[in-house]
Symmetry: C2
């Protein structure tokens, strides 16, 4: 395998010299029909409104080939050390699909290991749902409360919200989440939940996450105070690594395992998402979700970029970032159920690719991951779209839409349903951003030329949600290959942790920090 | 009053030639003590970690004086036409404070008018809380559901979440919100709420907002279907303008008024926020909130920028944007209760200042409003902070923190409470971003030099929340003066609306749009 920096490739030099497609002329019937790739789970990726044409796409294909994007993905699947900084394999794909060659580590088949944990979760969930396992005061569990932060929170929470309406009356257990070390976060959840019927999931791979342990202790103290008869150890399970201090402890009803080969932000399809989502929705829904992700994972093996949506999306993103110089990307789902999906993608993308050195630790002379933000449409239209349409920076957009709503509740007003209105707005926005509209009043003038893509499907189901998640995970991975960075470590979070410890232990000798801390009551 | 573009001022030219303060050397005890301004409501603004020194602050003072920032604010308060595009006054400050000279429009004292509406709301809320007004099936109202979008949603929702924990057991009514035209949004709320005990607030200044009317009809249909005995007109009030089609209609229990001089994103302190927050929390809490905002409004009159936090924040923001070239700002509250406050500020800032023309409609040759995004800490630390610390772009940061938590629930682990851990993290992050940390392993190296500011106070109360809100409203206003733009219109939202109508009515002849729409089921 060859690893080289983006700016050392022949294709990138060619790309810089190529002419971008004029986005104002991009939205033609022909392009809309043609620039449209299936990605699994019934979802498709349309890139007609992007500043690329056949010529630039050919160069992007060369770039992908030159940097061996799909070969590197194969290396990931085969268990090569693709997280070089930490010397680890990268195996989250194996939580949802078989690899061609089994990955064996210390005698353990990794696919079987992840699969086994999910089966254990399913059996455990059945006992919870049937009432075979009850709370310590003899009541059936009704609510599941996940305590975790970062990757143990954002993904599972976004996915739960995304499928809550889909499940409807088939919801098995309501799920809640506690993440922040701010005690007001736990108080807001614990104060409004019947703890006799609540099952906690403590999620920490290392078993040492400060926020998560602090919230566990707060929850236990709260339980004991509210009801001395409650036995916290009968209301808590752990999702952690087999070697963590939390593993196989008497403090828990049961423990389910992950390992070092699945990064937090890539862990939604492992036990980190599996436990809470299986408890909330049952095993069938979680299984369909994994199936959707597996379909997209398979589609991402295709070396022809015109048939590989995550790869095409990654390449266009690099073109927008490194040739056209756009530092941000907005994620705009036209689905209220996806309201926290942008927050998950913000972590996935920014923590993976917000890096200043290449995979060998050498400083880079080009830009890497963009800032990601977003809110659902049509809400955003009444908020920040003003800047997107008429502001002084161009922000590339990624729309997400579905033909049908999740819940079968709608009303026809003035000849159209709300769902039709929603999608008419989405269609109109893509056109408005791309085409603009000339007006002699400059305040009412729209320059257009603002690129977007559209991920779309029939309905937000477990399968299409899995496909969406895997699309972005694979996109981010491919962009890491293109930028020649390690997308699977996160050294940038360490310094803050070290300084926090120094402040809490009183070992910091920095006078300025003491004065600053005093302003915050430390 | 003199209006001129930023790049035509003497001070800006001087500013461009000045040397920025090295952020790596900025965090000294002396600067932390000195660069700290009270802003009302018990809150303070600390800008020690910003790339400014005494010299550059003197130039920023010159810039403020040259562009008459506080005079223009006085003009706002005096009822001059400060929204020139729409030919309107800008009067949201009068919802919370008297102006020196009364603003009278068509014989109506505007301060009295806004005050009167709030008094009417208070009387109405008392009747709801006491059970004097009951639902149509004779039950006491327990829940208030706001139907609105954009400014009628983001601010009131963020403020409700911010004060929910503070109110604790004194909460009068639970509040919920429906905004998106996606029917799944309404379904998620309506399907989980007892409608017999629910009071809807329909909020639309014009009375014609597509999403809001669509959601009203959906809610009415749902009510009739679930319980034919329910009379929707006895479960709904309106907040609208006196001239709107919704005003004084038999479809509502009562109507409360706003007018054209309060833009949606500035309407949280008007009846738009007043109705839902007074119903949820009672009049005292809403009154304390207004009082906090009024204190900050008064502090913003000070022409000495070293004593005017919103103005200093605005000037530093322009320095970061137009001299140092940073296109984004992250808002990072270390308070879970402020979890939706960044989303409100995203609208406030980006819709106000995401403009490409000056107040006379002339295209600008410099950048205006930045992209705003953010999530609460410590959650963000486990998510996108990787990019903020080690990514290839510098993103200026605005931290918010409080010495105490809202709810008196905490636990001491390893010698510190969770609240202390929270603030130790906040202190550590400010230092880590500013100072960085050298490491011979480039992957573990932190360049530092990343600027931030800190808004802080004792506790998140109604008063400090009002001050925070007014700080940002006034900051955004001052930046509009500095960029010479109209921060009070939003022409950028119009084109999408026009195209949506064409698509829904079938009058669009654009073949490409039809093909795109067909992919989305239209």
């Amino acid at each position: 395998m060859t690893y080289k920096n983006l700016d050392k490739t022949a294709a990138f030099t060619k790309l810089q010299k190529s002419s971008p497609m004029d986005v104002k002329k991009a939205l033609t019937a022909e392009r809309i029909q043609k620039m449209d790739i299936p990605l699994g789970g019934g979802m498709r990726y349309n890139y007609a409104a992007q500043p690329v044409n056949e010529d630039s796409i050919n160069i992007l294909q060369d770039l992908s080939d030159e940097l061996q994007c799909t070969d590197k993905y194969q290396a990931v699947l085969s268990g090569e050390i693709m997280n070089p900084g930490e010397g680890r394999m990268v195996l989250h794909h194996l939580t949802r699909m078989e690899s061609e060659n089994p990955v064996v580590f210390e005698g353990k088949n990794q696919r079987d290991f992840y699969r086994k944990q999910q089966e254990r979760i399913e059996l455990f969930a059945e006992k919870i749902h049937s009432g075979q396992i009850k709370g310590s005061t003899g009541k059936k569990f009704e609510t599941v409360i996940q305590i975790g932060i970062g990757g143990s929170d954002l993904g599972p929470r976004a996915l739960y919200i995304a499928l809550r309406g889909y499940a409807g009356e088939n919801l098995r257990m309501e799920a809640k989440f506690i993440s922040n070390v701010d005690p007001d976060d736990a108080a807001a959840v614990l104060g409004t939940t019947d703890l006799e019927t609540s099952l906690f999931i403590l999620v920490s791979k290392s078993g040492t996450t400060q926020e998560t342990l602090a919230n566990r202790d707060l929850a236990i103290q709260w339980m004991k105070k509210k009801n001395p008869e409650l036995d916290p150890s009968k209301h808590m399970i752990a999702v952690t690594s087999a070697t963590s201090p939390l593993a196989a402890s008497d403090d828990f009803l049961d423990s389910f395992y992950i390992d070092d080969f699945i990064g937090g932000r890539y862990s939604s399809t492992s036990a980190v998402g599996g436990a809470v989502l299986t408890l909330a929705f049952g095993k069938e829904i979680f299984s369909e979700f994994l199936q959707g992700a597996a379909e997209t994972d398979k589609s991402a093996l295709e070396s022809n970029i015109r048939e590989n949506a995550p790869l095409m999306d990654a390449l266009i993103g690099v073109y927008l970032r490194n040739v056209l110089g756009y530092p941000m990307t907005a994620i705009l789902p036209y689905s209220q159920a996806l309201m926290r999906f942008p927050a998950h993608l913000q972590q996935l993308d920014m923590e993976s690719n917000g890096k200043g050195v290449n995979r060998n630790g050498e400083p880079l002379s080009y830009k890497t991951g963009p800032v990601i933000f977003g809110e659902p449409g049509t809400n955003g239209q009444h908020s920040f779209y003003q800047l997107l349409h008429q502001g002084t920076d161009i922000v590339p957009l990624q729309f997400i839409g579905f033909r049908k709503s999740q819940q079968d509740v709608d009303v026809t007003i003035a000849g159209s349903t709300n769902q039709t209105k929603l999608n008419a707005n989405l269609t109109a926005q893509i056109a408005a951003f791309a085409n603009g509209s000339e007006n002699s009043n400059p305040n009412k003038n729209f320059n257009g030329g603002r690129p977007s893509s559209l991920l779309y499907g029939e309905k937000l189901t477990p399968g299409s949600l899995g496909a969406l998640l895997a699309h972005y995970e694979n996109k981010v991975m491919f962009q890491g290959f293109l930028w020649n960075i390690n997308s699977f470590d996160q050294e940038g979070v360490q310094l803050g942790k070290i300084l926090t410890k120094q402040i809490l232990s009183g070992s910091s000798t920095d006078e300025a920090l003491k004065i600053l801390g005093a302003k915050l009551g430390i």
